[in-house]
Symmetry: C4
Subunit: 357 residues, 4 copies
Amino acid sequence: VSDRQRVNVADFEAAAAERIEAGALDYFAGGAGDERTLKRNVEAYAEWELVPRVLVDVSAVDASVELFGSELSMPLAQAPVAFQRLVHADGEEAMARAADAAGTAMCLSTIATATPASVAAAAPDATKWFQLYVFSDRAVTEALLAEAVESGYDAIFLTVDAPFAGRRERDLRADFEVDVDAPSVTAAIGSDRPVSIKEVFGLVDASLDWDDLASLAAGCELPIVIKGLMHPADAELAIQAGAAGVVVSNHGGRQLDGVPATIDALPMVAEAVDGRVPVLVDGGVRRGTDVLVALALGADAVLAGRPAVWGLAVNGEEGACEVLEILKAEIRLALALLGCRTPADVTRAHVQRARRS
Amino acid sequence: VSDRQRVNVADFEAAAAERIEAGALDYFAGGAGDERTLKRNVEAYAEWELVPRVLVDVSAVDASVELFGSELSMPLAQAPVAFQRLVHADGEEAMARAADAAGTAMCLSTIATATPASVAAAAPDATKWFQLYVFSDRAVTEALLAEAVESGYDAIFLTVDAPFAGRRERDLRADFEVDVDAPSVTAAIGSDRPVSIKEVFGLVDASLDWDDLASLAAGCELPIVIKGLMHPADAELAIQAGAAGVVVSNHGGRQLDGVPATIDALPMVAEAVDGRVPVLVDGGVRRGTDVLVALALGADAVLAGRPAVWGLAVNGEEGACEVLEILKAEIRLALALLGCRTPADVTRAHVQRARRS
Amino acid sequence: VSDRQRVNVADFEAAAAERIEAGALDYFAGGAGDERTLKRNVEAYAEWELVPRVLVDVSAVDASVELFGSELSMPLAQAPVAFQRLVHADGEEAMARAADAAGTAMCLSTIATATPASVAAAAPDATKWFQLYVFSDRAVTEALLAEAVESGYDAIFLTVDAPFAGRRERDLRADFEVDVDAPSVTAAIGSDRPVSIKEVFGLVDASLDWDDLASLAAGCELPIVIKGLMHPADAELAIQAGAAGVVVSNHGGRQLDGVPATIDALPMVAEAVDGRVPVLVDGGVRRGTDVLVALALGADAVLAGRPAVWGLAVNGEEGACEVLEILKAEIRLALALLGCRTPADVTRAHVQRARRS
Amino acid sequence: VSDRQRVNVADFEAAAAERIEAGALDYFAGGAGDERTLKRNVEAYAEWELVPRVLVDVSAVDASVELFGSELSMPLAQAPVAFQRLVHADGEEAMARAADAAGTAMCLSTIATATPASVAAAAPDATKWFQLYVFSDRAVTEALLAEAVESGYDAIFLTVDAPFAGRRERDLRADFEVDVDAPSVTAAIGSDRPVSIKEVFGLVDASLDWDDLASLAAGCELPIVIKGLMHPADAELAIQAGAAGVVVSNHGGRQLDGVPATIDALPMVAEAVDGRVPVLVDGGVRRGTDVLVALALGADAVLAGRPAVWGLAVNGEEGACEVLEILKAEIRLALALLGCRTPADVTRAHVQRARRS
């Protein structure tokens, strides 16, 4: 498959599968248990249909949105993905530059193979968010957070769906260990030896609760976005604890297998939030039309993780950017063909349940 | 497969696939994006069941209908399909003769490989409709329209679901370019060099709106039928703007992937129109029983595009006619076995939702 | 596969497929159009679940029923199937003896490869029913009917779903012609040359209506059962015209493709009939549990055609009888495990819709 | 597949399939009829989704439950499975030790390849339950029951869904006979010759009814649990007859094919019981997440039969224990990720119907 034949995310996924080492590929592509939720996240989008309107003047479409004080070129940003140097030597720095080139934000993982400062230096003008795990060793967490604030990150995404590692059986079978330099992990375990994913999650504080969040939010100058909730009541609790936004997420199907697809959980969360803070959703986004479905069901924007990681694997910064540009082009075309000039024009009336997927 | 073994549309589709050049086959057979809507258009028919009545005297069945002032031998006409000379040297002229021989109408595409006048000359007594794209260069559009009127066409079908080209990835992968003589395209770009489908659609005016339609309808002596709407509110707007009919269509799944099957959109459109103008539907019709489902759900007739194109590819005019005759025979038999003597006898009570497809 | 390994109807179907000549196999196994209804008839049974009750004394189960004045050993009789000598030289006579040996009734087809008298002579004590097509040449019909009455048949099953032959594409492709001796066909066309199925149906009177039925019922000393209705309103009309029973049937999926499965149509018909006459159902019965589903949904008994024909093909009378005995054993076991002692104990509460098939 | 690659029940199932003799494998793995219910039992779990809550302190999860006076380490016990020595020479004694080591109970089958006393001696401190078939020869039954009481069993599970053997066609085809020493069978037939499964069930009293149960319960010092009901009305009758608990069961899909999945039947039974006695469910449990679905739908615990039998086949006591430990780990992790600290925290609100499986 030559480069010019890669016309969509699936093409990049296939090309990346040929380039990434087997154990790492399983890590990035896999999910928990029987991978039902991993699959459902994707398939559930096909159970919604877009209902177009016609004879609207769509000669000028504008896909941009504003989020947490920054303007993005489209309602899609790069989700946090750990250990990106496992797919390409240029790692998270390249991803940050790619997102910036595509006009959107990148969210850096706590367990990245680059420090927040290094990523910020690589893409100084970019919109940057930092994903936070709260480790049992709070000193490590606080140091990371301080570095993110100092480096000019624009928001903190606190992951709340991983008090323990999900049962990712591909990794268990392969006995997969990460042997690249993940600074926060190295700091937390006081060593740079290879570690298993399970051991990494063993560092996370399983006792974290809503009171801890409230303290964290009160002490942080950046907006705190809660990532990893699926229930409308948890969205309400998040807002009450001071969250600046929520991400409907099941961790890409990597934590508890058998939970709903995020797009199925979105409508009730969006209804509960009722516009008080931005609502994002991640998991399963592969097409611009998926993004429009999410907007119609109440999302302000989506996060997509794996797609640009496949692009990074295929061709570094350029590949990641190409994937994001494809998604942007798909979003813009879908807006036009749906009869909408902007993301804000997309309403619940623009989608309906499909009879079948 | 010998000729006498071709007993249905699927047989002609298979035979045509062996005769049409790969790039062109992808162009005619393919759809947008993941081709979900392309598939759904066909499969959705199987989600309706026909409920027959018995001991009705069906010794004399009459399948004919009247539409836009013409009588057709059956409630099915040939949908507009571009560039027909790509499948057979006799092109649109042969298709017009085939439709005429089968007693039905043919709708000629704006981006045909024959002029309206040439097609009219080939089938002077046929019922002929002209499908219109409004180009940004209005002079080209007006010239085409004038030629159609002068050549005796009976109605204009204005396509409204294509302000931009759908993302047809088969064509993107193959970098498919049309290098046959498409007179309207040649006129619009002022050259007869090969062009990509995307470039062709780049000629279309993306700013067209309901006011433009009203002006067009007021200035045209022929009935204007709006083709490509899916929403009942758009059907209402079409009637208010002077439309003489509507076609529920998603452009054969070639524009926005993920929109509903047309047969699923038909009932609400038909209810909104409520008999004020004829309602047609296209996309996915492969069987006479499909046509009866459409009638039961409120259509006055259907358009079918690909089936007779496969016939044209297999055996020119004769092949196209054979496909139309098979469909007519299937329609007539299905009427009889449903306990109906005419299309008008088919009511909503003759169908029910299938439990599963 | 040795004989003792054939433990169910599917085993006999597979064995028969190896023994019957290709064209004839397609004739018996096939259906109309895309064979959607053929498949649905079978699959729809799997969409119902049996809800068992426990701790009922089922040490003595009795599966017998009374129907049209005769006692059958089980609520299942042999459906009419044409041209049985095409699968085994012993033809309909062997089938009648097999049904008799299994304690149930056989319904002889009008277009059988044996006369009513010959079949009656072969199984003089059996319960025998005669299936009737009304030919345009009424003299042929009347002669057949008179022969059935004189030969001691117990009921007439009038087929009403075949004013024309369904579009059975397997037969069209193979150009299948029947060249065995079918006495009624020979009489109707005045010759014993091979005929196509389509030609046979061309003999049927497509103008037959409810008034004709009333006349027929008034003039016939035997009970007339209407076979081939799917709509509750037609069941009502049948009773008003003097029918002694109805068979919910779509001709085994061989007439109009796309009609509902018979088991899906049964409940509303049974509700309309409300016990005034027996209600039978055919199409798709492959298991004793299917029969219990039919009883629970309002049937007094079922007809099964293909299963014993496969038995006939495999081993003549003995094979047909073996199939009927397997079905009887399955019915008896299913009654016991459902907590029912007799067919009359099976109620609507013993079934529920399956979530999925 | 090396041992350390077996990370879930499915891995043990695959490994066991390579170790168990074909006839015996069919016996343990198979079901009745078309094995629809066998499959449904498993698949139906995937039609429920788990709805997690977040930011709950789950640093200390406790999965233990109390049942019939004993404490189990998790809400899962070993279901009765006949003839375990067919998969491993250590048989039921090894299974009892494995269950004890995993901290849970084992239910011994009446038709075991070990006596109640022998199993009790092998695992004296374990929680042990005894599954009872009532034979027509009541003396055999009474002797078995007395032995169980004397040996210190904690409860009796009376199977009520098998007045006759289900039609297990894999066994019919293979003419499968059990030639290992099954003491109760030997006693009942007065011989130790090989017997077919059908013959074993021929010993069961098909006339057993609710009055027999009441007498049995009144005369037995141990709690009597009714195993094999699917209907809420039968649960009510069981309680009225003195049952100490009920098991929603369809005998692992081995009796009447076409009955609902047990997880589909559970909610109505649990609602009818309304906490008066413990409700258990068996059939189809393969994952810790399945167990949580059952808890959410009203079960106090589940029985799982085949999983640990596969473990027994692979590696005797150790293998069986490994399977039970995997299930325990999955249960504990699923509790934590669902936001629950104990089984009692799991409520109906933690599950919802999946859109599709």
